[in-house]
Symmetry: C2
Subunit: 200 residues, 2 copies
Amino acid sequence: MTEFSPLVRELIEALRCLPGVGPKSAQRMALHVLQRDRDGGARLARILAEAVVNVGECRCCRILAEQALCAICASSKRDRHALCIVENPADVYALDQATDYRGLYFVLNGRLSPLDGIGPTELGLDCLEKRFCEGEIREIVLATNSTVEGEATAQFIAEMAHHNAIHVTRIAYGVPVGGELEYVDSGTLSHAFAGRREYR
Amino acid sequence: MTEFSPLVRELIEALRCLPGVGPKSAQRMALHVLQRDRDGGARLARILAEAVVNVGECRCCRILAEQALCAICASSKRDRHALCIVENPADVYALDQATDYRGLYFVLNGRLSPLDGIGPTELGLDCLEKRFCEGEIREIVLATNSTVEGEATAQFIAEMAHHNAIHVTRIAYGVPVGGELEYVDSGTLSHAFAGRREYR
């Protein structure tokens, strides 16, 4: 059985670090770049090398940014009394696009998961507590995912906030807009039922 | 609306040069690499930069290789009288794995397509004709795809080979093994019917 030349094989192997890329897609990507788009490949190599070195975390909200302070934290137009807490950077952009929330964010970059060695320090909860103590924040919006770990993380942060007399809210979980009850899973349905609100 | 920091945005944009990667997957890939796999990202950047510079074409069969001569062309175990002609490098590995053919290959890296400016020179057919003239090759196996352009390319090469009194075969196209007639498209069916063979 014949195989690709060593360097092509190495490239296919290296492409597998990207999420959702299996052996077949990695091969397709490698051949495409080498046969048809060497300029694009060279550009990707350059920017990727630069990004893995230079992109760090915003020292205020822990979002990915190459400056010390990200655009949101540096903005003067943001409400500095509200803080929305999310698990991932992508959640920030999703929320900011979909809602009219214009406060600040805090990115956990994960969720409490003691078995995987992810405790409060890994999520930057010590920095968060310091910010709570400083007294500028009046409301936090918990927007962690509604998984077991996400709920535990929300609970943990809520308690920290209560100690500092900060108003705590949690985004609503329930039947998705446009969803049909028949096709919604039972966990979501029971959440939606338990969380029912006064109808005006 | 807020957006990713400039460098992260550039990385997402650059990842789109990979085939099958849209805006959402590119974002997922960029965030995954920056949050969880910087080592993998650095390695990918290094190997990709090396590959786009160093991987060229085998001077004999035009397959992707960083040496002047690929492993197949350099091998002494190969039958140097048979030449299988394919459109893409991936076809070589697919055929070599699936069949017991142990001759040489020639990779066109495309197919005749005058409208896109792809003529005989772009496919290396001048080199191929030179090899035909040298007299070492006794049989060619045409394994271009069964598209209109693939057929035209096969036809073109077959005529070149006939001029040099080389035996020409074409791989069989028909109903896939395990396929059910009911679900096979009509083009394949008519191919399979026209290409029927003596049953022993």
